[in-house]
Symmetry: C2
Subunit: 108 residues, 2 copies
DNA sequence: TTCACTACTTTGTATTGCAAGGTACTAAAA
DNA sequence: TTTTAGTACCTTGCAATACAAAGTAGTGAA
C-alpha cells in the first residue's frame, strides 16, 4: 500500500488548475500562492512552484511584473493572461467532467 | 497554452483510485479495465496499465489469478485485496477532500 | 561586517504515463 | 505444415514533472 503517494498524485493532477484559478482572482507572488493553497489544504512547495510558474509563463497563460519589497528582495507578481483565462474556462469544464467520470466509476 | 497536457495530468491523478474502484466491484483483466475506463470517458492504455497493476500487486493491494481463454492466451484476472479495500476507503475520503479543496479555490 | 530574513533560481533524483516493439498462445486459412 | 490473424502479457526508452536541497542575492538590524 502506498496511500500518501496516491493521494499526492491526485493533488498534483489539479495543481495547475488551482494556480490558474488563484491567479485569475488577483496577482500573487510565490509565497502568496503557497499560503492560499495551504488554506485550501493543498500543500505545494517552492521547488515545485518556480518551474511551474515559468512553464505557464512560457505557455503564455501567465505574465508577471516586478515589485519592490520593503522587507527583502523584489517580488515577482504573477497574473493570468486572456489566454490563461480561456484555458481556465476549459479546465473548469474538464474538472467537472472528471468528477462525473470518477463518479460514474465509484458508483457502479 | 497546453490544455491537453493539463487535462492529462488531472486524469493521471485519479488513475489508481479508479482502477482500485473498478477492481473492488469484480475481477477484471487488462482489456476489461481499459473498456470500463473508456465507458467512463477515461482513456488508459496497455503500456500504462501493466506496470501499474504490477506495482499495485507488489504493494499488496491487488492480487490475480490466471484463467484460460478460448480465444487466445490465458488472462490475468486482477482483484482487490482486503488491504486494497482499506486503501480504497481512504482514497474515497481523499477524493472528496480534494473536491472540497478545489472547490474552495475556484469559488473565491 | 556579520547575521537574519526574504525571495528567486537551479540541480539532481525518483516517479510514472505512454509509445513502440517484443513474446507467446490459439485457431483458422492457405 | 506453414502462414496469418487475433488476443494477451511484458519490456524498453523517453519525456514530463514534483520535490528536496543547495545556491544566489537583496534588505535591514545587531
Amino acid at each position: 500500500m502506498n496511500l500518501e503517494n496516491t493521494k499526492a498524485q491526485m493533488r498534483k493532477g489539479v495543481l495547475e488548475f488551482c494556480i490558474l484559478s488563484i491567479l485569475s482572482e488577483e496577482e500573487a507572488y510565490v509565497s502568496d500562492i503557497i499560503n492560499k493553497m495551504k488554506e485550501a489544504k493543498l500543500i505545494v512547495v517552492e521547488g515545485t512552484l518556480y518551474p511551474l510558474l515559468n512553464r505557464l509563463k512560457n505557455d503564455g497563460v501567465l505574465e508577471y511584473r516586478w515589485e519592490e519589497s520593503k522587507s527583502g528582495p523584489p517580488r515577482k507578481y504573477y497574473k493570468i493572461t486572456p489566454l490563461g483565462k480561456a484555458m481556465l474556462d476549459e479546465l473548469m469544464v474538464s474538472w467537472n467532467e472528471l468528477i462525473a467520470s470518477v463518479n460514474s466509476i465509484i458508483t457502479i
